[in-house]
Amino acid sequence: MAIVKMDKISLIALQKDRNEIIDSLMKMGVVQIEDIDADNSENGLSGLIAKSGDEEKVIELDTQIEKVKATIDYLSAFNTKKKGFFESKRVVEKNELNEIIKNKSDLWDIIENIDSLNEQLSLLRSDENRLSNLIASLEPWENLSIPLEVSSTKYTLVSHGVVPVTVDAEALKSELAELAPQSYIEKVNRDKDQSYISVIYHISCGDVVTEILKKYGFSKVSFTGLTGTPAANIADAKRQIAEIKEKRKNIQKKIKEFADSRDKLEVFHDYLEIQRDKVKVLSNMAKTDKTFILEGWLPSEKSSEVKSMISQNWECVLQIRPSEEGEDHPILLRNNSLVRPFEVITEMYSLPNPREIDPNAVMAPFYFVFFGMMVSDAGYGLVLALITGIMLKKFKLQGMAQKMISMLFFGGISTFIWGALFGGWFGNVVEAVTSGKFTIPPIWFNPLDDPIRLLIWSFIFGALHIFAGMGIKAYMLIKDGHVLDALFDIIPWYFVITGLGMLVVGGIIGSIGKYMAIIGAVVLVLTQGRAEKNIIKRLFKGILSLYGVTGYLSDILSYSRLLALGLSTGVVATVINTMGTLFGFNIGGIILFIIVFIIGTVFNIAINALGAYVHTSRLQYVEFFGKFYEGGGKGYEPFKIKTKYTNINIIDGRQSK
């Protein structure tokens, strides 16, 4: 178990060397540069120094990065080169980078070009929308033969409009013919909502016509700005849309021609990000007229390397010293490859603070065992280990994802082991398929036959887990010099809990347990009030402390989930197999079995792996960590080259000579 030791670095160097030094630090990528509190610096320089940094430059670079990224995203929509999901980053050679930086105005031209082409595209799109809407509004009038701009002649008025489809058009027609004989009405079209009608009438009967139309719910439709017949207008709009489509194709073709620049743009994007990070880190530093000041953390093992690199190359004042007691240095965990995947569980809870120890090495074996017990099916374990194993082999996973998948891989192995112990191979698939002729016997015992036995084992595992947590607490207390605390607060509980457990067994073991529990309880009563001066208070507090036994018991009972979730996998698997074999062993039955088996198994693995992950984590977080763990550490994030698309490893930084 290891929290990597950190050294504090303080550096005062000349402004003129600043860029070179930052480049070199970035290239080494091991120093986490801390924000200097200019008024409260360790160097005792408060008042003499000012914050360094250039916010405007950071914002400017951020805007540029945003622009480049938008262009890249845009180009990738044209999908010229499909990238694999887990594909590793392309390595950029120095020549290529220099070439790109030298021709960056060309790249900006490309970006501007694509930007303007994109703008044209969106203009065309809105034009097309407008035309489509026009067509939709004119289509019902397509049969109208009067040009739309005609609204009156010398003696007549023309009026187009709609009436609800429920209106009796014949009645309207006859009423018009009767009361306003100098009128002509035509029903142009109708759809499910309304009828489209056109009325021509003599000026003299205008009022009468308007009155009648109003009565029938006529609402006027006007076509402002349109000339010619509706049919001609529609044809024209259709022609324009075709033109737009043609134009759009051309523009897209032009954009496609730029697709090759995507690689260059990616490099440029990453280059800009590096520049941005460099400017950004300045804001953590302080400066005077001629010098700049930098403080930070780095792993102790890198100290000499960094020291020689900086002090050999530049004039400076450099101090690197081990972290002091009580200093909150960033946390870097280092564990062997078996434990490392389980770090992800602790990381998701909280990193240890610098005064604690890394709990992962103790936690990992328990996690391994509990995860397997909760799924406990050899077949499922194999499937899980196989899938995650292939993922690990095939894709170059990094960071959290890599740890998570490796953890599930180990979980699969554990599941396999427990499954074999309990005799679960895809539930009872062998028995189901052979109608009970064959069974794979469990190596240990089948929990379905004797759940109480496994329940007791669950409690024993739980007690061991809790004891381990208390043991770490005791270790930490002793390490900090509180030997008495460890002796009185933790050891007696070992006696009480173990004793109570043995009491349940009965017989001679039971009576031994009884005395162990009594001894433990007596020690607790006598010691738990030791902070109090008053003897009665002291005794009272001691007796009260015995109440803590309920806490430990409920913690241990919580491990019954090991049994419950283990049983649930087995039973659901049996349900799946039973469902699958419902139709016997004819061809249809076998096909049905295969379908049910595959779907059911995938479902059961997924839901149980999730359940096992959740509940094992809970046991770690609540029952185990609750005994000793504080957490609250901040992760170690060195100042280094961080890129999105490519792997640029060429920065002009000096090495130690």
């Binding site: 569980i345 998701m348 809870y349 759940p451 109480i452 329940l455 009972l557 919580s558 019954s560 989930r561 049994l563 419950a564 979730l565 049983l567 649930s568 039973v571 659901v572 049996t574 349900v575 039973t578 839901i607 999730l610 359940g611 959740v614 509940h615 984590s617 809970r618 977080y621 609540v622």
Partner: protein, 163 residues
Amino acid sequence: MNILNALFSGNVLALTGAALAVILAGVGSAKGVGLVGETAAGLVSEEPESFGKVLLLQALPGTQGIYGLLTAFVILNKIGIVGGTAVELTTQQGFLFLMASLPIAIVGYLSAIAQARAAAAGIGIVAKRPEELAKAITFAAMVETYAVLALLASILMVFGIKV
């Protein structure tokens, strides 16, 4: 009287228990998963990339339904309706099965909904701090404990009934 006799026959009572376990725990899970789903959809409409994370949270209140089914299956198995020859139960045995199903039926129903609330609130955590997913899951898992305990009680009871 015949109807009463038939109604209180051991097998009917045992099946009632099995049915209750599936129905109540299942309804609870359905409500719960639905509730978290609604909240999750709200977040995904803003941040589609958080889908995987919130799906995990949505799945959590779904387990009670499975526990219910599981208890029902164990009962059906025990009384020989699934896999084996059906047993004729006495009324008392029937009531025993009915009682045995109650923990997971009732606790399953209520805990699924309570867990869904915790999970839905957890989506709020994911929205603001995606890296704290584990804590959101832990809050929901705290509720699940009682469903697991109820399942355990139900299963142990069923296993313990002599047929």
